[in-house]
């Protein structure tokens, strides 16, 4: 083999290299295009097309059943009115707090359940089934059951009494918003009283968080279980030799291994949470003073009850933007900014 054979191969084009750049592109990317093409097409229509449509509706004058896409005057008036409304502000507060609390509780609960089930030698399948079962039920009905349970005078408080716990929380009837910082914030915000709601944690939401976690912790557990099973046993053994207590092992060794699982859970439960509707409607409705109202209900009521299609659309655009604020930087860091 000598070097003088090579120039030839450069000059005299090989049959396979003679192909056009298009056919080479297709050969390289054909499968990708074939797979992703249809997906991108339908999602382009069903997601981005419909978002565009919704955005257009949100700046239109459309109220009532007749389609009216005339631009509003001023264009953003639907937004400014909605954003100033105490109810919508409460909704934004609620969904933010709900999502944070719910994700925390569901993930922690799911993780604990997964560890316990993973380590239980007996009845593993039974327990797994028990914890996963709530997930198979329809929100519309579980909401009712949880409303019963969180009815102060007849529900879980009776059990607490029986157990000798002398607390009678109001649960979903409690209108209290603790840690209201709206007053403090308004001294900072230029222009004064733009905040028309109490910015704190509505206690009534906690009951909803419990119900939602009950329903979805099993799903988190299932994913964690799959992850735990994938961790090599040597890791546990090594950690044990390093003197790690069980708790330390799971926190310092197992948890980092489960990070991809955690991401899956957070994204999936996060979107369930942000869109929550059925459960809240059936359980607490708007709640006292909109303590448990969420954008999902607002969108539904504005669109289909009030027939203010523009306001409903604007609310969902704001919901999307909220999601965007939280999720886009995350997605960017995870999938774009990081490795290539």
């Amino acid at each position: 083999m000598t070097t003088n054979a090579l120039p030839q191969s450069r000059i005299g084009p090989q049959p396979k290299r003679a192909r056009t750049s298009l056919s080479r592109f297709l050969e390289r990317n054909g499968f990708r295009i074939l797979v992703l093409g249809p997906t991108l097409l339908v999602l382009g229509i069903f997601v981005y097309g419909f978002i565009a449509y919704t955005a257009r509706v949100s700046v239109s004058q459309w109220q009532g059943l007749a389609v009216n896409l005339e631009p509003n005057d001023p264009l953003m008036s639907t937004y400014s009115e909605m954003l100033a409304s105490p109810r919508f502000q409460a909704d934004i507060r609620n969904i933010t707090i709900f999502t944070v609390l719910f994700l925390t509780l569901a993930v922690v609960l799911g993780f604990v359940l997964a560890i316990l089930v993973h380590n239980s030698l007996r009845s593993r399948g039974l327990f797994r089934g028990v914890f996963l079962f709530p997930y198979s039920l329809s929100f519309i009905v579980t909401g009712v059951v949880w409303r019963w349970i969180f009815t102060p005078s007849t529900g879980v408080n009776l059990i607490l009494d029986r157990l000798g716990i002398d607390a009678r929380p109001g649960w979903i009837t409690d209108p209290t918003v603790v840690g209201d910082v709206s007053g403090a914030l308004e001294t900072v915000v230029p222009g004064g009283d733009v905040i028309n709601t109490q910015l704190g944690i509505p206690l009534a939401l906690i009951a909803v968080v419990i119900a939602a976690s009950w329903q979805l912790a099993g799903f988190a557990m299932a994913i964690f279980l799959a992850g735990l099973a994938g961790i090599p046993e040597e890791l546990a053994e090594a950690a044990s030799l390093d003197g790690a207590k069980t708790r330390q092992y799971y926190w310092h060794v197992a948890m980092p291994q489960l990070r991809p699982m955690l991401v899956t859970i957070l994204v999936i439960l996060g979107h369930v949470s942000l869109k929550s509707f059925d459960l809240v409607v059936a359980m607490s409705g708007r709640g006292p003073g909109f303590a448990t109202d969420v954008p999902g209900i607002y969108v539904f009521e504005q669109t289909f009850r009030s027939l203010s299609f523009n306001t409903g659309a604007a609310a969902s655009i704001v919901m999307l933007l909220l999601v965007g604020i939280i999720i886009v930087p995350y997605l960017y860091r995870t999938y774009v900014g990081g490795k290539s």
Partner: protein, 464 residues
């Protein structure tokens, strides 16, 4: 550690197959048990699904398609084809009442089929959502449940319903139904719907034993808000929860306010507020808000966790003394085993004696329905005295005809039916307001219940 057994995928496949087989088995069962009216329809649907050609069956129930094409040739009378009716009555007494309407229709049009599209939930909210969506898609049922007044406005604005005045003329409804009611179903001289019955919205229910125990006299017809508040205070002092409220559903709180407001402004004031002849910034509205705020102080602490039906059951079992709710509560009380005039009593909301707060169910007809002939039968049969009677016995409401023999009705309904014929009427805003205003009012009420800020409240209403 074992590797994935190759057979595993087969097991999963087998499980799926088993599910599918179960489905098929259930499917054949289903065909034999569907009601007569649906048999044809569901069979064709199942067949089509089995054949995996779902697009083919669409033609069958799209109202725009000329259904009359294939069937009417066999039977030349106009009373064939399919009529799709749409309501939010799906269960219990409501379903029974709807079936009464359907049988009446089938008697009038024996060769026609009915597609009973019904969606329950949220006090008709789900159904309205579906309707709104179908209207956008230009795929309307032939006839659907609506209310009078502001409920008709969106349909008229969207130009999707047609006048049914000729039904009134042909069937002589004008002479037998209350003028006020017909008025509420009319716009610009045309009538757009036929009512199935009327509920009274302004009832104040009370638990007799609790009132007696606290030394409170049972309220009478001239009951005033002052007396009402005094009684609530007395009850409170006696350790009795004054007022049950199903505040889990916004409409129940709205209705409490609405009833108090009617008691303050009276029927004329009510009409003026509705028609926009009077501002919501009115002193009387403020006064009503004040009273509403005071009444709320006596509300059951559990209220936010209760639906309206649970609230009325609490009244029946003695948890609380009063409940302000429409007369659909009556059936709920009786079903719970409570005895009228023994366990519970009722009176008009304070200040509303001689006024009937109308909560009406009615049906409108799609403008472009190809089945107008069948729709006419549907509406005509609906307005017949026997149908009205049968429907309202089941529904717990009052016939809207003044020539119905009400002696067949239970005592409460007899009284209500008589009152409907005699009293002044006010059209409920909570149930029949224009959707946008109704939402604003509902939100304002929810906020007011916490803040008790009268000024903010009336401003919110006035600026709507």
């Amino acid at each position: 550690m074992k590797a994935i057994p190759k057979t595993l995928s087969w097991k999963v496949l087998a499980a799926l197959l088993a599910l599918a087989l179960t489905a098929a088995a259930c499917g054949s069962d289903a065909e034999t048990t569907t009601t007569e009216a649906e048999v044809e329809n569901s069979e064709s649907a199942t067949d089509a699904d089995d054949g995996d050609e779902p697009t083919a069956e669409d033609d069958g129930d799209e109202p725009t398609a000329e259904d009359d094409g294939d069937e009417p040739t066999e039977d030349a009378t106009s009373s064939t084809g399919e009529l799709e009716i749409f309501s939010w009555w799906t269960s219990g007494s409501e379903d029974t009442a709807l079936q009464a309407l359907i049988s009446a229709f089938q008697a009038g049009a024996p060769n026609a089929d009915i597609i009973n599209g019904a969606v329950s939930g949220g006090g008709g909210a789900n159904a309205q959502a579906v309707l709104a969506t179908r209207i956008q898609g230009n795929d309307l049922p032939d006839t659907w449940q609506s209310g009078p007044g502001g409920r008709l406005t969106p349909y008229l604005e969207a130009d999707v319903i047609r006048p049914v005045t000729e039904v009134y003329d042909d069937a002589g409804f004008r002479d037998t139904m209350p003028a006020g009611l017909i008025e509420s179903l009319s716009v610009d001289g045309e009538i757009y719907a036929v009512a199935t019955g009327a509920h009274r919205g302004n009832n104040l229910w009370y638990n007799k034993a609790l009132l007696d125990g606290a030394g409170v006299d049972a309220p009478a017809g001239d009951y005033t808000n002052e007396q009402f508040l005094a009684d609530l205070a007395t009850l409170d002092a006696a350790g009795v929860t004054g007022l049950c409220l199903g505040a889990n559903q916004a409409f129940a709180v709205d209705e409490l306010f609405e009833n108090i407001l009617l008691g303050v402004v009276g029927p004329e004031g009510w009409a003026a507020l509705r028609d926009g002849d009077r501002s919501w910034d009115d002193p009387e509205v403020r006064e009503a808000a004040e009273i509403f705020g005071q009444v709320l102080d006596y509300v059951d602490p559990d209220a936010s966790a209760l639906t309206w039906d649970q609230a009325i059951l609490r009244l029946a079992d003695g948890t609380c003394a009063f409940n302000s709710m429409g007369d659909w509560a009556y059936g709920e009380l009786i079903n719970s085993g409570a005895v009228d005039n023994e366990d519970f009593g009722y009176v008009n909301q304070p200040g509303t004696d001689g006024v009937f707060m109308l909560v009406v169910d009615a049906f409108v007809v799609a403008k472009d329905t190809p089945n107008w002939d069948l729709a006419k039968v549907w509406l005509t049969e609906m307005g017949q005295p026997e149908t009205q009677l049968e429907f309202n016995i089941a529904k717990g409401a009052s016939p809207v005809r003044n020539d119905v023999d009400t002696s067949a009705l239970p005592p409460y309904q007899q009284g209500a039916a008589d009152a409907l014929a005699a009293d002044a009427t006010a059209l409920s805003i909570v149930h029949h307001g224009e959707p946008a205003f109704q939402t604003v009012m509902s939100e304002a009420v929810t906020i007011f219940a916490q803040t008790k800020d009268v000024e903010q409240f009336v401003q919110a209403l006035a600026s709507a």
